[in-house]
């Protein structure tokens, strides 16, 4: 009897299971491993470049490169950090040939001071500094990351410093704001490279890129223009998606003379590399390291290129590519799909057709007379004229609203052409475009500015939000 009853119970219990089998769930034990190759630690999110005191002897260039998008401040105990297994770079092309002339390399290394605890910090965090006020130790911090930076020109190392520390992430009031204010902890992580005049900072900061992703990714919605959309919605203010999130930044300030060669214009892009790997060792019996050469997994110059210009199907290809081969992406710039979507989704907006030589200048060659090198090989870089004031698309300031500028640029506000003949496209860029009129020059996602204040001095990026307060 017991046996029969048990089987009956089992049968009832199996109703769900049968469904599971029909649905295919758990039909056998195939090896499960993570599927989607999301890699936040290697993900270049933003790049900024601007010049301070242009045209003077004190002129410097500030470079800010960000990784790890949308970090939640309260992400303990495994707080975000740079990858120990990744190579972070910022490249400079100072003669327009689409090849790097100067590269800044960063390698990080994590030391767990007390391996017997999983805690990020086991006490209030303070800082010990050297005579120059630079951090040499963060007592209380258990998971410490240090790094080496090298400047390489034409294969030669021309400046380097090791054992620099990243500050702790902003854990919360008790950990990182009790004995020592967080700003002081972070400030001690600003380092100088001897007599080179180079300053460097690497660590957590507030995510300061204003963008309304929720709306833009929903059929290119621009909340302030909701009534003009093909699918109209009530007009409302934009929502800044990055409010409340942090990011990891590398900030460099470098004497302009160190970067500029013959041309006042430099091009900048940032990459992340990871080591490839061989699957099998050879048959000699000797164990190989299984570690191969570095491969580039992420690339960023101009903001949003991989969203606005490069079609989805070419995203991975772009991330693996190098500026010197950018001719392969030319057609995407000459005839961007977005340029045809705007007038369709926003009826009444007239946008130039192809060829978009205005966008070719903005994205690939620099704008003549503004930020185009004398001898330019077209390639996608953030181009900066170091002899004049910066502002996107001549370099990029932290405060530039690049989403609005790029949407308006795609809408033609720099187009040398006429809205009365949009099919003729754009002969090139101009600052007196006939397209520079409403609504083209008013298109906006409705967000600008940031939830945390920018700093007036190095490292400029806002302090990170604290985990406790988020």
């Amino acid at each position: 009897m017991k046996r029969l009853r048990t089987v009956w119970v089992a049968l009832v219990a199996l109703a769900a299971l049968v469904l599971a089998m029909v649905g295919g769930a758990g039909a056998s034990s195939h090896r499960e491993a993570p599927m989607i190759s999301e890699d936040p630690v290697a993900d270049n999110t933003d790049l900024y470049a601007w010049v301070r005191n242009p045209g003077t002897a004190q002129s410097t260039v500030v470079l800010v490169a960000n990784w790890i998008p949308l970090e939640e401040p309260a992400s303990g105990p495994n707080f975000w950090k740079f990858g120990d297994d990744a190579l972070y770079t910022i490249h400079i092309d100072n003669d327009g040939d689409a090849r790097q002339d100067i590269t800044y390399y960063f390698r990080f290394q994590t030391q767990v001071k007390d391996p017997n605890t999983f805690l990020y910090n086991n006490n209030v965090i303070t800082v010990e500094t050297n005579g120059a006020g630079e951090a040499v130790n963060y007592p209380g911090l258990n998971v410490q990351q240090s790094y080496t930076m090298s400047e390489v020109r034409d294969g030669n190392r021309t400046a380097t410093r090791s054992s620099m520390l990243t500050p702790p992430v902003n854990v919360g009031t008790r950990s990182t704001n009790t004995a020592t204010p967080y700003a002081t902890l972070a400030q001690a992580a600003e380092y100088s490279l001897g007599n080179t005049g180079i300053k460097v900072f690497a660590g957590q900061r507030d995510e300061a890129f204003p963008v309304d992703l929720g709306s833009i990714f929903d059929l290119l919605g621009l909340r302030p223009f909701n009534d003009a959309h093909l699918i109209p919605l009530p007009v409302e203010a934009g929502v800044n998606t990055t409010d409340g999130y942090n990011v990891h930044s590398i900030v460099l300030e470098i004497p302009t003379s160190r970067l500029v060669d013959k041309d006042e214009v430099i091009g900048v892009w940032s990459t992340t590399e990871r080591r490839t790997n061989r699957i099998y060792s050879n048959n000699s019996g000797e164990r190989l390291s299984h570690n191969g050469p570095w491969v580039q997994v992420s690339r960023l110059g101009m903001p949003l290129v991989n969203e606005v210009i490069i079609p989805l199907g070419f995203k991975d290809r772009f991330n693996a590519s190098h500026p010197v081969n950018d001719a392969q992406f030319l057609d995407f710039v000459v005839d961007p799909e977005l340029g045809e979507l705007i007038p369709f989704l926003y009826p009444g907006v007239v946008v130039p057709g192809e060829p978009r030589n205005d966008l070719v200048a903005i994205f690939l060659t620099g704008i003549p007379g503004i930020n185009q090198p004398a001898n330019v090989r077209p390639s996608e870089q953030l181009r900066l004229n170091t002899s004049t004031e910066s502002g996107f698309p001549n370099g990029r300031l932290l405060t530039d609203d690049v989403v609005d500028v790029e949407i308006q640029a795609v809408a033609g506000i720099f187009c040398d052409g006429s809205p009365s003949a949009p099919d003729e496209g754009c002969a090139g860029p101009t600052f007196t475009s006939e397209y520079n009129m409403p609504p083209n020059n008013a298109l906006s996602d409705g967000v600008s500015g940031n939830d945390m204040p920018f700093l007036s001095d190095f490292p400029y990026m806002p302090l990170p939000l604290s985990g406790y307060d988020s």
């Binding site: 090896r31 491993a33 989805l312």
Partner: protein, 438 residues
């Protein structure tokens, strides 16, 4: 002014611009559909910043919010695609059949709006893998790769399908491409498995540690990777290190089935049968797969709880019958069960079907064992040899082969396999019997 004509187009392999077939169709209702597709092509899959909804939502909230969105915008392809992807992930994590069905329906809806869109093909591929439709998964991946050979996610789907179809050389070639393109967690975890299949356990361990170092935003993915490393330590008899990894997996994602199974096996290896039964009972309540139920039954036998064991086995048989009645493709786990605890002749026919579709080393092993169990030792021998062709360090494969070699009169080879097995999977010897007849 820079003219396009001045630009050197010769450098680098040219990216062929997808032809816009929608130009002529930009009128009427159809246009809306096409445009939805195009917007996603331009904007979705943003690598710089994760898309909506906010990361702070739980998977349930996220799905609810995405469900609302497809109700509000049924013509918006992106809404269907994002919901489908979230549902596939939830289906895999929960094993809930209702979610699988919903995921399939949502993805079909999206596919109708935007045929051959890479993101939807990849989600369909992931779903096919979860359902063990490996041939279908490979086809879906191939469709994506035909349009975009650099698509890393399509390579991941393809590699898994090739491994499960027993196409090991093709899988290695695909994986090498992925490693050279994007050597991050998914590539490294698969490197570990191919090394493990080929008998390189230290290399497998190294790759998994690298995978963990590379990291992920997903706690679930990190938990799965830690538990795989735990399995690898368990295989080598390092029980403490295995438990350490299972604990870490729990920190990242509570309630992973692989962790419960791993802990049951640790208990078995330590001879703690009551504790193993408890873990397996918990596991089979949530994931009543033939494999888990068989292990529960075998553990109960080892604990001399024969009546309960019979109940567990009876449950496997119910599952088997219901599966056959429903016309579902039966698999190797059922063949394993039938070979040892049911009808070996049926085991053979199940194994033959599985082997014909996917001749993996495990399918070959089960073929050999099923043949041996019905007394066809001579026919079993080539399959036993084939099951060892990669040098896979798996106690069950080795012990099956040992029995078959011994029955074929090759005692030396049998002893060699037994010695290899002795250092592997310490839980196996506690519960598995390898006798010619019961």
């Amino acid at each position: 002014m820079t003219r396009v004509e001045q630009i050197d187009r010769t450098e680098g392999e040219k990216a062929v611009k997808p032809s816009p077939p929608w130009r002529a169709a930009l009128t009427g209702v159809a246009a809306l559909v096409v445009v939805a597709f195009l917007v996603v092509r331009v904007l979705a899959g943003n690598p710089e910043v994760a898309g909506p909804p906010p990361l702070t939502l739980t998977p349930g909230e996220q799905i609810a919010s995405l469900e609302q969105r497809v109700q509000a915008q049924p013509e918006n392809f992106a809404a269907w695609q994002e919901l489908g992807a979230a549902l596939v992930q939830e289906a895999i994590q929960s094993g809930n059949p209702v979610v699988y069905t919903r995921a399939e329906g949502v993805l079909l809806e999206g596919a109708t709006l935007a045929p051959n869109h890479p993101a939807i093909l990849i989600s369909q591929g992931v779903l096919a893998l979860a359902r063990h439709e490996f041939g279908k998964a490979a086809e879906l991946a191939a469709t994506v790769r035909a349009a975009d050979p650099f698509n890393a996610d399509a390579l991941v789907v393809l590699i898994d399908a090739q491994v499960e179809l027993g196409q090991y050389e093709e899988a290695a070639a695909s994986l090498q491409q992925l490693l050279d393109l994007r050597p991050a967690l998914p590539a490294l975890a698969r490197t570990s498995y191919l090394r493990e299949l080929n008998g390189d356990l230290p290399g497998a361990e190294q790759a998994l540690i690298q995978a963990i170092t590379a990291g992920s935003r997903s706690g679930y993915d990190l938990a799965v990777t830690h538990s795989l490393l735990g399995d690898l330590y368990l295989k080598q008899g390092e029980l403490d290190r295995a438990e350490e990894r299972y604990s870490q997996a729990e920190e990242f994602f509570a309630g992973l089935g692989a962790v419960t199974l791993g802990r049951a096996r640790i208990a078995l290896a330590q001879g703690e049968l009551a504790s193993a039964v408890e873990s397996l009972a918990t596991l089979t309540e949530r994931l009543p797969t033939p494999e888990n139920l068989t292990l529960l039954g075998e553990t109960l036998i080892a604990a001399s709880r024969v009546a309960e064991a019979e109940d567990a086995f009876a449950t496997v048989e119910v599952v088997e019958e219901l599966q056959l009645d429903a016309g579902i493709v039966v698999d190797l786990e059922l063949a394993r069960y039938e070979a040892d605890h049911g009808d070996p002749a049926r085991a053979l026919s199940l194994a033959e079907a599985a082997y014909a579709e996917r001749p993996t080393v495990f399918a070959a092993g089960v073929m050999g064992w099923s043949l041996y169990r019905i007394g066809e030792t001579e026919a079993a021998l080539p399959y036993a040899e084939e099951s060892l062709r990669l040098g896979t360090l798996d106690a069950e494969l080795r012990l099956w082969a040992a029995e078959i070699f011994a029955a074929s009169g090759n005692d030396l080879a049998a002893e060699e396999q037994r010695q290899i097995a002795a250092g592997l999977d310490p839980w196996v010897a506690v519960v598995k019997t390898f006798a010619a007849a019961e």
